[in-house]
Symmetry: C2
């Protein structure tokens, strides 16, 4: 299957670095793209990874970095163009070191997010980034995509949890910057530039990660709210009550639970008839405070203010997990229903209620569809997904898909929002980036890409098409 360039390149690689390509290397979760690749290299250490990239630079062959392959914007697959080399981190999985007293560990990029979380837990610490795919997603990909998840409200996205990186730059040199420092003002922030660059400016091979002391006590509740505006006011009350101890504040719509009843009937649901809107709240408090009493006080304040009409405070860890499972199975039920169009958007918090109302009207005017709007309300990050009417098929709406995407993103951008809050740009949203990004910012991005990767070998076609 190798063309001449591929054969030449293979001869230049370190011994034993090539592996057979398996289907899993070429798939992505939504099944919309099938990748292609000339070669699959799986280096065993940073020096081998650098040698691979140097060889690709010399041969002018593109490099597509591959982590766990859970990304949702096709950053990890190659759709067209000359066959690239897939560079898999699957052999670089070590937790190199961990300093519990410092709340720092150094992990290689191929370690799964779950392995990182487990290492922290073993040391009595918490690595607070949590996403549904954490058993498969690798920390290198989590950083390359600047993943967010359910605890970003409290602890920030991946960027906020990384103190330093080791990376192979597009010319094959290794940037050694695995600092264990909270403060380091020695020049430009290359770390934050590579984080979120989705492999287009270099390959992150290891990272120095920030852990936190786990909160002494945790409380989880589901509260039924009148509407998204009431949910936001409840978030404000929670902030007044416990400050930055609100660990998660998730919006759940009744539509999401109806989808679950239809597609995942084995899931136990907290309400026989799903209410229109709920929030899932988690707080994590220092010792000496009772989280359940705190949540009960919040419920009472919310009810008195006319924001909350019903609620359940988890009475056990098991019940808390059941609430979270319900939240985390929303995307699976969505997948089985089959979305016409999915949007990972962020908005300024105060724009959210009006956006949800206006976007709903806009979609309704286009045709008979169902909307499941849910997500990380505390971050202003909504997953706004549009589905066929009951009894109709995704394909029935093929001619509408592009218009829905465009009009939703336009409405989001006009309100100061983002068309990609946490999933990134990948290959799926390069046209959106070109259309919606500030022109000066886009020009600076292109200049930086050209300066660091003049041959354009790193993840070609991603982010900047």
């Amino acid at each position: 299957m190798l063309n001449d360039a591929g054969a030449d390149l293979a001869a230049m690689l370190p011994d034993g670095v090539l592996r057979p390509i398996e289907p899993r290397h070429l798939e992505e979760p939504r099944g919309r793209y099938v990748g292609q690749a000339g070669l699959l290299a799986a280096p065993r250490d940073t020096e081998e990874a650098a040698a691979v990239i140097r060889a690709c630079a010399a041969a002018r062959v593109g490099v597509v970095p591959l982590g766990g392959g859970t990304g949702l914007v096709a950053g990890q697959v190659m759709q067209s163009g000359p066959a690239p080399l897939l560079l898999s981190l699957e052999r670089m999985t070590a937790i190199r070191d961990l300093w519990a007293q410092e709340n720092v560990m150094v992990a290689e990029s191929g370690a799964t997010l779950q392995a990182v979380r487990d290492a922290a837990e073993t040391a009595g610490r918490l690595f607070p980034l949590s996403i549904a795919s954490q058993g498969t997603a690798q920390i290198g990909g989590v950083l390359a995509a600047n993943a967010g998840g359910v605890n970003a409200l409290r602890y920030g996205t991946a960027r906020a949890l990384c103190l330093g990186i080791e990376a192979v730059l597009p010319d094959g040199t290794v940037m050694h910057d695995l600092k264990r420092l909270r403060k380091d003002n020695t020049g430009y922030d290359l770390r934050d530039l590579l984080i979120g660059a989705e492999g287009t400016l270099g390959l992150i091979t290891a990272a120095s990660l920030r852990m936190v002391p786990p909160p002494a006590a945790r409380g989880v509740a589901l509260m039924v709210v009148e509407d998204p505006a009431a949910a936001l006011r409840l978030l404000g009350l929670a902030g007044e009550a416990v400050g930055d101890a609100v660990s998660a504040f998730e919006l759940i719509s009744g539509q999401g639970l109806l989808f679950q009843q239809e597609m995942l009937p084995h899931l136990r649901q907290p309400f026989a008839t799903p209410p229109d809107w709920m929030v899932l709240i988690e707080i994590g408090l220092p010792g000496g405070v009772d989280p359940d009493a705190t949540l009960e006080a919040l419920f009472i304040r919310g009810a008195e203010a006319g924001l909350v009409t019903d609620g359940v405070i988890a009475q056990s860890g098991l019940q808390a997990e059941a609430f979270w499972q319900m939240r985390e199975e929303i995307p699976e039920a969505n997948r089985r229903i089959g979305a016409i169009s999915s949007h990972d958007i962020a908005l300024p918090l105060s724009e959210i209620p009006r956006f949800i109302a206006d976007a709903g009207q806009m979609i309704a005017a286009m045709g008979d569809m169902r909307i499941n709007c849910f997500g990380h309300l505390g971050d202003g990050n909504l997953h706004y997904n549009v589905f066929p009417a009951p009894g109709r098929e995704r394909a029935d709406y093929d001619d509408l898909r592009e218009k829905i995407q465009h009009d939703v993103h336009q409405m989001v951008v006009a309100r100061g929002g983002s068309f990609s809050a946490e999933h990134g740009v990948g290959r799926l949203k390069t046209a959106d980036l070109a259309r919606w990004a500030d022109p000066a910012r886009l020009a600076a991005m292109r200049a930086i890409k050209a300066a660091l990767d003049p041959a354009g070998i790193m993840n070609p076609g991603a982010v900047l098409a």
Copy 2:
């Protein structure tokens, strides 16, 4: 005083933008540099700022951005070379907007840090960055330098508190990226690149800033510890007790208090005979927890573990302020004594005790000197300052200064530390950056500078000399 280039440039600038240069525009706090400037421009808005930079780009005249002028590494003054234009933000001081519910405000770069903090407080919020010079330092400079201060332990440095920026890029285009979003993964992180770039990649004209709900209750204590190792173990105990609610954890040495007794005798000191080592601890807790009881429990645990030998818990806001004043007057007493060499360093936490011991021995071997080592222990950020022996002068050590600087920085870098934790590089540490930075990282920095500012007009001579 204008040369021809200056006269030509003046003719290209917007009407009314030039102001007379005053001595305050050319000074810096340590009095070591006297600046020079051809022109001083003080634009009234972002468009005027962009017009000034476009004119400078056309005339190939350097631009030195000027905020409050409180920086400690001469980033704001020009030592040599062709006379640049000083671009002062003194007329762009507005708090443009504030959304209390969102915990966001947008401030222009010329607003002082104090004005930003006051605006937050008026809205019932906290802007948690705090530095001694906040009455003069401007938020644009705070961001350009990625300032840290005493609460970075809990809330991060300036970078962590900024959601978006508006900036004039070196070609005079305006990057509009004043997002009020917690999550936005749409391409490269230009915001974090400009933050900390000290004006060399563009001029930040306004910023979208993150506020937090103020902790419901605050507790402040001074605890006497055996040594820095004991201080670190106490920090660990504090983390176990209250998690991320430790707002500040400052190391204070007896030497610092002796300097205060000598130079600032009016200051009330908490101990008649200064102990060798103390920590100043501040915690900020949610409602329902008594901070004094929490600090007392920490004191008891610390005493039982043999870490803490004495302590005072502030019994009033006034006493808490007195403790903080003592901490914040340490640099003033230092200034009056007159340091031979000052170092703003960071180290991995677990390296700190050995570093303090080893560096002390190294300095002692060089001659008779006094050391005042203090600072943000929770961040691993120490101000490590070396002073003449009693009765001797700073000038007596002129031949040692360079060796002390070099050897301290070498020892810091060898232990994975930073030679500039929070003050930045400016013009004072360009040689350090060239010597100590990772070569691949330095090369990438130079490539980015050349790509975004090919004519080299933005803050020439700073960061990358």
